[in-house]
Symmetry: D2
Subunit: 338 residues, 4 copies
């Protein structure tokens, strides 16, 4: 049993608290929050947990691992101090508010020989894992493109825009599935309700292997969508996370190109085969993620969602932010005379 | 009764033939096609129709109006000859393969005092008309953004890519709804199955009023989608054309921004109200379009989908093509060091 | 090419006309209707067809087969006269308004050595055929029960109630799938809008093999449903005919009973496996039905939907009508004191 | 704050525990279960709760109200002892395993001047309440019929069949909505997996006002359905409890009967109007039910789901059981000669 402490008891923290308490491999022994009411709620619900309002005192306790669910802008500072205090660290996504800082955390962890774990829960969810298997086994053939939609009404974040809040999930999934970094990206969107902070965005990414991806994210959409379409040369997959069951549908569909015969025109043939929805296990992703964090600590091996992985995700976010600015500058040149 | 002739009896032409024959205001009197088997099929089905394999002889008949459903690259030449022969002309979308040619057709029609009608059937469909009313009446409030998806498996076109084949519909709908031209656009996509001809594309458009739009089009998608989301400050609409009924859902949902109080933080309030699906009349869009074409001829007034309207749609297609090329050139500069 | 004549050009007749005309094995040569406007519409659309307003003159023509799409109460009389005139006969469902009359038609056809074909189009539709294969191959295991819903708003019939209009389809499908007659049935319903004619009904059937079936039919339902659930011990199937694709979903799900161990309690284990939607061919059922009618004539073999089959369907309808009356009589006895 | 005790910590009890603990009007002070492991789980999670393995000692504690979530066959005995010990009592549905016992409990509660509350949670859920309002306000017009489906795979109960487990919900909803008892019922079903205990059933009920209802319940269905269709003369409603939002859809649809004109035939007109999905509040039904239980205790007024109400539900279950037996006896008489 590894002694685990948690800091940040706002929107997401209570979910981590539940899992630390529930997991047979961890002992929930300390919690830290600046707001007394948050702290009391947790220590009331988990009487064995010692509460701290001071982060240094919290670090001075006997916890071996620290989980951080505070606002993004504080991730770097808190994670750094925890690593330097000799703790293993789990940081909620994104790892830090810049890739330079994320990279710095990664090297501190390496020097300290501690596990740095980036909390990308979707990487531990059964449908996302199943798609990874389908891609790696070659069952989908060559990947053509992916289209990902993650839209709903709210919840507006105070410190980041919709790209850093929602697209961060899709980017982590893409990097996990494809195993490569995009070499080019582009973003487009609008700040509709608040000034300067985009609540709707459309993103494009191009990868060295040729595959391209589009990602639509919005806090301002009447219907909730969590829909990802993965188009390969052999199979196509629709992953709909709003479905209670049958989240994955695998289609034996495609278009095959036949070289022109001696007489002439090329031919396309349409393949319209069966659809298949594999049964997926029901285990909670958050619990699987916790298991992976704890076993990384025990075995001393890098987790799937390592500091390096978390740094790459932030690099892609920064790439997309740069192109958003580039678009602003191009405005005058591209105006069309009508 | 206006005597109407039809040229082009391939994939779409037979639908126009049915409507010319069925409409009480038109008399289907002549048909022209280079392929004898196409011509025979039509004259067999409509014995009163005279068949021509020569376009000049077809134009020399007593038809007053000519409907053109031939390949896009022939639109300009055939429409021009028909207008110069004194016929009213209906040209299937897009009007021509360049905006310069489309503009030329428009001015020829003006000089000849004949109607030039661009065949954008969706503009005559009940849900598209209803959304136009909702926008113009102010019921949706200020428009924030639109997201349009038009994807399915096939049907690959020989002469154009997926943008000219499918996005042309969405662009025509956008121009009709918004009543303004985009001042900037961008496109991104991939030619997955054939070389050089994109079968999947993601488009962005920005309009002077501030509204932005995204459009996803694909010939290579396992599920058919015809989904358009229109987000306004007062109401949001989802228009799903694959639904047999309830194609339009109007949501009383939104996020309202409240100015900060004297003590500080701004506040957002989420509005989660009722959904409402208006009953829409069942009339066939193609029949309504035909009625509008015939009444434009009779009254001598410009149709909704005039030559000018059709020219603007081609201008937007060209804008999107230019940005696709711009992206190609930018490739080396934007590579990210990893 | 078999010369085919058609009588009855009301709601359904024009569909048969189209198929007779379109099918390569039939020549549409004669049509008969009492209403001159119906007759003119058909002879106008199919100029090669000779029109008759007198049924005897129609039978005196050189047609070899007669298709009957007139009101149900006329089926027996017209079919009998056609058979006695030496024609093969196709009668729209149900075969006649009583099983005695249907049986009589069947024996007349046998004596005349002519084909009597009952027009149950669903028996020729790809999903219904596929389910038959799944049942017969044993892939579903032992059948437990079936639940069939066929509801929508309208179309009220003038001469029959909702059971004879809609349940007739489900009964024909059940008899085809199960290959056995129910030994008991029950029905329940209400005449909501008109007096005496039920517009909603719930039917139950029990079969000798043990399988039971429920059927809900309604002309008075806000949403259209065409949903059939087939529950077997090995597999379960949902057949939804309103789906444009994936009409059949086959589930590897079930509950297995394990005998009690020495220590006691029985155990149930739940099987939650994959779902699979086979691709189904796209051929039009009506066209397949026509092919089967024509090949029955040519080979002199009994069709799937023979006179005998059509008689059995009417027997089941009569059984259900009897139980509806039985219910009425039982009313007073079963009243519960409250 | 009312001191509340809970007995029965199996499948459902923990949900009641959570609500007793969470509700501001109740203090969770005692728990009773025969299985030590169940008891320890609850007292571990709620350290302030005192655990009892003896029901008499539990009743001797200072709890003012007792909530019972034990197997159905124990409801009567435990509720009676609790009432006689002077406690207010909440019994999970159904109130008892016979209407005579349920009636006895009701009169004991009356004599003891204690609240007897039958735990029908759906009666406190926002969509069920909204439909009640629609019916009572006359917005739906005269009710024609209701069709209710409640099917899924599992969960098989040990002590009751699917009617007593699932239909009990629908019967409680029907009695609440209609405010009248059925005067006749019928049931049909099959015990597919286990002997003698039905896992699928189809029920019919007829009410004095003329309205009829059908209810399909199954533990052996591949897809989960929680669908209720309410057909009135003015409006129709579909209540789908599996929908995450828009559980209620209200249709302005119907068929209107027009008296025959002087010239003859009656006419039906179809009304196809708008659909409307009211926004429903999000409050948890279990929490609302708890609030109602506590306020009934405080005010001394009968709850909506009183002992009398719970007795009526059991009466309907018994009526349906009787008709299932009646069917068995009728078997030989109704056999059809084939």
């Amino acid at each position: 049993m590894i002694k685990v402490g948690l800091t940040g008891m706002g929107y997401w923290g209570p979910n981590l608290a539940r899992v630390i308490n529930q997991h047979p491999g961890s002992e929930f022994s300390a919690a830290c929050d600046l707001r007394p009411e948050n702290l009391e709620r947790i220590t009331g619900q988990y009487p064995a947990v010692k509460g701290y309002s001071n982060f240094d005192e919290f670090l001075a306790s006997d916890v071996e691992a620290v989980m951080i669910a505070t606002p993004i802008s504080t991730h770097y500072e808190l994670a750094k101090r925890a690593l330097l205090a000799g703790k293993h660290v789990f940081v909620e996504k994104p790892l830090a508010h810049s890739s330079a800082l994320a990279r710095d955390l990664t090297s501190i962890a390496a020097k300290q020989k501690k596990i740095l774990f980036a909390g990308f829960t979707f990487i531990y969810s059964p449908p996302v894992i199943k798609v990874k298997e389908l891609i790696d086994s070659g069952e989908l053939g060559d990947l053509h493109y992916l289209s990902l939609s993650r839209v709903n009404l709210g919840l507006y974040q105070k410190d980041v825009d919709v790209v850093w809040d929602l697209a961060v999930h899709d980017i982590s999934i893409l990097l996990y599935w494809l195993g490569e970094m995009p070499f080019r990206g582009s973003s487009f969107g609008r700040a509709c309700v608040q000034e300067a902070k985009r609540d709707v965005a459309f993103l494009w990414l191009e990868f060295p292997s040729g595959v391209v991806a589009s990602n639509e994210v919005s806090w301002l959409s009447p219907q909730k969508m969590r829909r990802t379409c993965i188009v390969g040369s052999k199979r196509m997959v629709v992953y709909d996370d709003t479905e209670p069951v049958e989240k994955l549908k695998i289609y034996d569909r495609g278009v095959d190109f036949k070289l022109p015969s001696t007489f002439g025109e090329f031919q396309l043939s349409y393949r319209m085969g069966d659809m298949y929805a594999p049964h997926l296990e029901n285990e909670e992703p958050l619990l699987k993620e916790m298991t992976h964090f704890l076993s990384s600590i025990e075995t001393g091996t890098q987790p799937l969602t390592s500091g390096e992985f978390g740094t790459k995700v932030v690099e892609v976010l920064e790439l997309l932010d740069r192109t958003a600015q580039a678009h602003q500058r191009a405005e005058l040149d591209e105006v069309i005379a009508r």
